[in-house]
């Protein structure tokens, strides 16, 4: 019976340790969640503080009792924020559509069609994945400048279309569609293009959507290339726009208005993320890298 009591004591100690471990785990995770969320809270909070109230705070206040939307009105009226947003949407849509069309065609050729030199070419494609964007940006900049395409959408979009990784992702997915379907379609006299449009794309829609969303995120956040290629604010994207706002917009001191602009820029992507959460996280964990 003594042994029994001993066991019970051990059990209880283990229980206690488990509980402590759980509390520590949740505390740690909670702290990191706070660190992640706090900047978002701060930007929302600051964006609804009035200009006067914000600048009167020598000690930052963690909440405000008199929220205002004046900053949002300022953000839309005194700087061309709408223009930046519109530019970014046009840029993102054009780039993504072109990228998807080009990548789907190439992936289909690699996955389904037989031609001489296929493996060699695919290896060449894969090795292109290693090339850092920083290396090729210089010549692209010179090229676009010489073609007189600075401050045009063509100049913005064309060099941003290429994406070996998405071709690779789509090819992998296309290859999972059983061969029998292709043969069956051939027997029925379906052309390759029709097979691609009517069978392949519908079956692989989830991956295509994932690729599309990832590309849109990439476009929305792109900064370096747009900065190099546009110096006319009429063609600024949101990233360059926010930098412009920071340096010349409301005057350095109107931080609440700046934060309102930041909120406006951030919200679309956060909504997109919350809607397509599963798809985005799955796509990213398959090897997407930021930048």
């Amino acid at each position: 019976m003594g042994q029994q009591a001993e066991y019970e004591k051990q059990e209880k100690a283990a229980d206690r340790r488990n509980k402590i471990r759980k509390i520590l785990t949740y505390t740690g995770l909670g702290i990191w969640a706070l660190i992640v969320l706090f900047p978002f809270y701060w930007m929302l909070l600051t964006s609804v503080k009035s200009y006067g109230a914000y600048n009167a705070e020598h000690i930052p206040a963690f909440f405000t009792l008199s929220p205002t939307i004046q900053n949002y009105i300022d953000a839309f009226t005194s700087v061309p924020l709408v223009g930046y947003l519109l530019n970014t949407v046009i840029f993102a849509v054009l780039t993504t559509v072109l990228m998807v069309v080009v990548s789907v065609l190439a992936a289909y050729a690699f996955a389904r069609l037989d031609f001489r030199g296929k493996n060699l070419l695919f290896t060449a494609f894969l090795s292109l994945m290693m090339i850092p964007a920083e290396l090729v940006v210089i010549t692209n900049f010179v090229t676009i400048t010489n073609l007189d395409m600075r401050n045009t959408f063509a100049g913005l979009v064309l060099p941003s279309v290429t994406s070996v990784f998405y071709i690779y992702l789509l090819k992998e997915n296309f290859e999972q569609v059983p061969d029998e379907l292709y043969r069956a379609a051939k027997v029925d006299g379906t052309s390759d293009l029709k097979y691609l449009l009517k069978v392949m794309i519908p079956i692989c829609r989830p991956t295509i959507i994932t690729v599309t969303i990832l590309k849109i995120i990439e476009c929305w956040n792109s900064y370096v290339w747009p900065r190099l290629i546009t110096d006319d604010p009429a063609y600024y994207l949101v990233s360059n726009g926010i930098q412009e706002i920071r340096e010349n917009g409301f005057g350095r001191e109107n931080i609440p208005a700046m934060m309102a602009a930041v909120v406006v820029i951030s919200v679309p992507l956060i909504i997109l993320f919350l809607v397509f959460r599963k798809k985005i996280m799955e796509g990213v964990s398959r090897g997407g890298m930021k930048g």
Binding site: Q3, Q4, Y7, E8, Q10, E11, A14
Partner: protein, 364 residues
């Protein structure tokens, strides 16, 4: 070490969205496993046999009931204090460690005065490796060994801490047919040599019958019958057990008992003295048929398969629950393959009657 299970029940919370009722995986299970025996937990998938194994090793806690090893109540003990060795279905050998490191791993976990010296650990690991005959594999990684060898490594890892009880979860299911036969003999030999009470889970009745001292047949969490393999085969307690054991499987007919006689269709085939009039299931083992020209049971002859020592007659009968009746008879018997029907007499000890509703055995 004798194992006693007393009214063991385990429930899992319901998973479905609509149906939130708890699922009972093990239902009021009681049985006793004598010291040093090899016992098979047998049943179709989802019958609760794996859960029972997890309860035994302590990975799951029962909702109610007790488990005793010998006289000691271990129901509340964590796995490491129970002194059990476990072999997992996929072996769970750590892929980044060598065979030797894998076998040493449990020993290195020991703490306090029970912890052997480094040298002793290695000695024990070598000894166990010799027992299962893998000494020459000690420096390989698991993936550099064959399936059968991995199985032995897993057994060695379970045995090295000298467990009171050895638990095996579907130990043979990942092996091909030839290896399976060989390995099950091996397991039997090792178990005999060490004398450790061993419980193993399987869905393969052949495997269970051939090597275990005792089999326990389970169905949806309920223990249907436990006993020596031959006993259970000769004396099934229910239609389920009768159907589950034996290859080829038992033939089941819809029958009728009237005035102490068993009728299949319109034919009185066997005397069933003392059984009250009722509808029954009649199970006849394949070896329970005797080919006889004036036999009472008439079946449509399908085909005859020669299997060397025996021949197998495939026939059909409208009262039979399956399309084919399979009977095995001595090869010396002549079968008139030209005839469209065939007549059988029955061996009474190979015919079992079960109640129509409860499927329980009617002893006569």
């Amino acid at each position: 070490m004798k194992i006693v299970l007393e009214n063991l029940t385990k429930t899992f919370p319901g998973r479905g969205k609509k149906d939130r009722n708890d699922v009972t995986a093990v239902d009021n299970l009681s049985c006793e496993i004598p010291d040093g025996e090899l016992i098979a937990l047998l049943g179709p998938s989802g019958c609760g046999k794996s859960t029972t194994l997890n309860l035994l090793c302590g990975l799951e806690k029962p909702a109610s009931g007790r488990i005793y090893f010998g006289e000691e109540d271990i129901t509340e003990l964590p796995p490491e204090l129970r002194g059990v060795g476990m072999v997992f279905q996929n072996y769970a050998l750590y892929p980044h460690m060598t065979v030797k490191q894998n076998i040493l791993f449990p020993l290195e976990n020991l703490k306090g005065k029970g912890r052997p010296s480094k040298e002793e650990m290695v000695n024990r690991a070598m000894e166990t490796a010799r027992l299962v005959q893998i000494e020459e594999l000690m420096d390989r990684k698991p993936r550099e060994t064959s399936g059968g060898q991995q199985q032995r490594v897993a057994i060695a890892r379970a045995l090295v801490k000298m467990p009171r009880v050895l638990l095996l979860d579907e130990p043979l299911s990942n092996l091909d047919a030839r290896l399976r036969l060989q390995t099950r003999e091996e397991i039997r030999k090792i178990q005999k040599k060490t004398g450790i009470t061993t419980v193993f889970v399987t869905h393969d009745q052949d495997e269970a019958m051939s090597i275990s001292d005792r089999i326990a047949v389970m169905r949806s969490g309920v223990l249907m019958q436990i006993g020596k393999p031959q006993e259970v085969y000769d004396n099934p307690a229910s239609l389920f057990v009768a159907k589950f054991l034996g290859t080829p499987p038992i033939n089941v007919f819809e029958g009728n008992v009237r005035g102490g006689m068993l009728y299949i269709g319109d034919e009185a085939v066997l005397s069933a003295e003392g059984v009250p009039d009722q509808e029954v299931w009649a199970g006849i083992r394949p070896e329970g048929f005797i080919l006889k020209e004036d036999g009472p049971l008439t079946c449509q002859l399908g085909r005859v398969e020669i299997m060397g020592r025996d021949i197998s007659i495939i026939s059909s009968h409208k009262a039979c629950t399956s399309q084919n009746i399979r009977s095995i008879i001595n090869a010396e018997t002549r079968v008139d393959t030209a005839s469209s029907s065939v007549r059988f007499a029955l061996k009474p000890e190979k015919v079992f009657l079960f109640r129509k509703e409860t499927e329980e055995r009617i002893v006569f």
